[in-house]
Every structure is written in structure tokens, then in C-alpha cells.
Symmetry: C2
Subunit: 279 residues, 2 copies
């Protein structure tokens, strides 16, 4: 069955590993925020995603992948988020106008003039940019416990991981935190906010906020001592406030309360006592 | 000067390090393919990109960044490519319809019905997906010579690099090559082609082709022995043909002939004799 022949359905299906939040969690958070139902598919994951007869063309390198109502399957975390952001209301005030899902949305899109279209495209791109940077933090965090190769056991690269973790804790976490704090603190849309400046783009939640929320959550799990120390410095107050704020957002709050949200364990974010430290 | 106040110009300006192709090269290849002129800016690079008074909001984590004619500066390699792909004619036959640069393009975009808009969005996303996967290969290739930390010298992580390179050569390069070969070999748009199946999406050049071309170029530089051995197997014939084909594309051919294209040296792709090997 080719992608073109796949049946149109109203269902979203997420292809991902069972048992860990992993990279699938970013897609779940976007769909939960938007209140869009989805099913999960995890059987024969790698062979399914590699098979054009099962997922259309092109085949996929790795999960997560999301089957859209059109039947099209898309992969690459950042790409999935960028594609669904407008329909989820997560591409920013202007970016959300680029929703092409359904007749009504397309009608609204066609009503935009050239300036509005340019503004929408640019805001969606800014959201995607910050989403990709937050995903980069996640990738580096993973590589701390697997610096030599993902295909080798942690125990076989523990010495290298201890070295990598030291630099990551001392240099990289503060560098990423300073960056995101500066984005939050210079966002012109929140200059007058009294509740703290907790939106990365504009004054509404975007995929960038959701990803950064989950990454901070993962870092709190992987490096609790280091994060406690960084929080104490009070240099990243907006960042930690964003983490709190997102937990209370509609859709996210209910998702967390439902118990469906899987706990961190031995996935992308992993806690090894010997890799953590205050400095 | 905030982004909103930045002057509209017809000029594209690329912010990147001087002296290496680096991640800036993917943006250069797209602009050169499209025949779009651009200038390069490299002075005080990191402090400029971090400063909202110089590049608007949000500030940027790292280069490359591209200033658009609107005055807006965007960063994150994959994001820049996804944003400019339609205007460069590099987002696929359908994806190119999403060009919002200029009145004429917007007029054409507004003429699309809901099905055509959905098809365009999905093809652009497929191109972006493969672009991101090819960029992932580049990131892993870099980490082979800096497995512990980018901030440490190679000499201080050489032992770890030798271990990482062994797994990368044996496991990862073949895995990535098999994947891209399968994408090329199952592309329905090139099923009848007699010249080989050298397009990742549809039957025209996209950002995914340009990025994969440059990544293969970089791998040929970093691992000449390993690549020669993999080429000999004849298992990746479409992949190596794509590499040849892109060199001859209009815009790219002239760029290479001009001598402007910088040589690989001590950037993302680096050749260390001790990290290469036939297996």
C-alpha cells in the first residue's frame, strides 16, 4: 500500500517505543495540549518504519513517526512538531494562521495578504528554531551517558561518560540555560508581564515551550544535584518559571494528572549517580 | 534596533565562521543553487548573534544564521533551509507552491485549494524530514572526533575518538547509507528513470539532496578508506550517483568551478589518519 493509496482517517497514530517517554513525548505533549486524540503503535517498530509497503514512501530512519489523518506518515521529531504546530495552536499567534488542515483553515489562510503570510511563515520558523535548539539540548544530554556509541552498553563507556558529564554539567548546561533565559528575558511580547516572562515566542504557548519544559524535566531527573545548584543561583528564574507554568497549561495539566505520562527510566534521560554533581 | 524595526533590503546575509565550509555550507548551497546573491558576515560572530540589538529577538544560540530581505534573522541550519526552500525551488514540486516571498508567489499560493495546500505542506515536510536526517549524519560524524566534549582538544579525547570511530565506520555509516539508498531506490517518482534514481523526493533537486551531497563529500574527506571500501560493494550505487549528479546541477556546478567553495580542513568534517580504516 503506497502513501497515496493509504486511507484517509480522522486518526493520528504515533509510532514509538513502549515504556519510555523518549522522543515520542514531544509529539504526545503537542497533541495533548491541543486535545487531539491519538493511538500508539509500537509493534515491529523498526521494520514497520523501514517498510514502504507499511508506511508509504519515503521509509523512515527512526521513530518517532506520526501518521496523519491523510494517511501520510512523517518522522523526525522537530519536523513532526513543525508540521502539526499550526493545527495544534502551537506555532505562535501569527504562525497558527498557516494551518492547512481542513477547509475552514485553508479558507482563512487564503484571506491573508502577502505581509501577513510572510509574518506567519517567519513566526512559525522562529518557533521551529527554538524547538530545534531545545531538542539539541536533549541530544547532548543523551550523548553524555553514551559518548562513544549508542550501540554499546553504558558500562562499556562509563569512564568516557564520567568525563563527558563533567564538561556537560560545568559548561553546557549553564550555556544552554543562559541562552534560553536570555530569549525569555528579551521577548518583547512579555515585557509588561507581572507573572514572569515564561513564553519563548509571543505571549502564548508554542512547541518550543513544550519541548523546553520536557527537557528541563529530563535534566532534573538526570542531574538533580546540578539542577538544584543552578536553581539556587537565581540566574534562570524565567526558565524555571516556564517549567512550572507549562505543567499547569490546559491539556498538559490533565495529561499529567491522568497518569498516562510515562516516567523517565532508561531512555534518553537517565540518572546515573556517578554522572551527577553540584558543579 | 529590534527585528521589527530592521530595514527591509533585497539582500541575504549569512552569519558564519570564516575559513571552513561548516554548517554554513548547506545554506550557501541552497542560495547558490537558486542563484540568490548573499553576503557573508563573520566579525564578532557569537556576540553579534547573542545580541537582540544587532539581530533582533530572539537572539541565536549558534551560527549559521541568515538575515532575510525582511530584516528577520533566522538560525538553526535545518530551519533556515526549510524556510527558504520554497523560494529557492528546493521544497519539491508541490512544496515549492508554499513560497510566500513576494506578491506574485503569494497570489499563486492563495489560488490553491485545500487538497493542494495539504499536499504542498506534506511534501515540504518530507523534504525537511530527509534534510534533518542527513544533518544528523553530519552531527554524528563530528562527534566521532570530539566524543567527550566539543570544548576539549582532539588530542585530549583521542583514545575515545578511536573507539567511537570504529563503531561509526562499522555500524553507523552502513546504516545511514542503507537508509538513504532505500529512500532513493523506492522513490516512486524515479521508477522509470534510466539515469539512476538520484532524487530523494520527487524528480527534482531539494534541500535534502544538497545536504546529502555535502555530507557524502565530507565523509569522503574524513574517511576516504572506509568510503572507498563501501563504494566497492556496489550496495549504494544510487547514493554515489546522487553525489555525482548534484555536482553538475545548475548553480552548484558554477559555484564549485568558481573556487569560492571552501575546502574541508579542521571544521565539522576532519581527517585524522588514525580514525579511518577500511572496516
Amino acid at each position: 500500500m503506497s502513501a497515496a493509496k493509504k486511507q484517509r482517517t480522522e486518526e493520528y497514530a504515533l509510532y514509538y517505543w513502549p515504556g519510555i517517554p523518549g522522543r515520542g513525548e514531544y509529539v504526545r505533549l503537542a497533541l495533548e495540549y491541543a486535545g487531539i486524540p491519538y493511538t500508539e503503535r509500537s509493534s515491529d517498530l523498526m521494520s514497520t518504519l523501514a517498510s514502504p509497503s507499511k508506511v508509504g514512501t519515503p521509509p523512515h530512519f527512526a521513530p518517532p513517526a506520526l501518521q496523519l489523518p491523510s494517511g501520510r506518515v512523517l518522522s523526525q521529531t522537530g519536523n513532526i512538531l513543525n508540521h502539526i504546530a499550526p493545527r495544534c495552536g502551537l506555532a505562535g499567534m501569527h504562525g497558527n494562521a498557516l494551518n492547512t488542515h481542513g477547509e475552514a483553515a485553508c479558507e482563512a489562510l487564503r484571506a491573508l495578504d502577502a505581509d501577513a503570510l510572510e509574518k506567519a511563515e517567519e513566526e512559525r520558523a522562529v518557533v521551529h528554531q527554538l524547538t530545534l535548539t531545545a531538542l539539541d539540548v536533549q541530544n547532548e544530554t543523551h550523548d553524555v551517558h553514551h559518548p562513544v556509541a549508542t550501540s554499546l552498553y553504558y558500562e562499556d563507556q562509563k569512564a568516557e561518560a564520567v568525563r563527558a558529564a563533567k564538561v556537560f554539567r560545568e559548561v553546557r548546561i549553564p550555556r544552554f540555560f543562559e541562552y534560553f533565559e536570555s530569549v525569555l528575558a528579551t521577548n518583547p511580547a512579555t515585557a509588561e508581564s507581572k507573572a514572569g516572562r515564561t513564553f519563548l515566542v509571543g505571549a502564548q504557548t508554542t512547541t518550543a515551550d513544550l519541548v523546553l519544559f520536557h527537557v528541563i524535566d529530563g535534566l532534573l531527573f538526570q542531574f538533580p544535584k546540578r539542577l538544584a545548584k543552578l536553581k539556587e543561583t537565581k540566574k534562570y528564574e524565567n526558565l524555571f518559571k516556564l517549567h512550572e507554568r507549562v505543567q499547569g497549561e490546559k491539556g498538559i495539566k490533565e495529561y499529567i494528572a491522568s497518569g498516562k505520562r510515562q516516567k523517565f527510566s532508561m531512555g534518553i534521560f537517565r540518572h546515573y549517580e556517578e554522572l551527577d554533581g553540584e558543579e
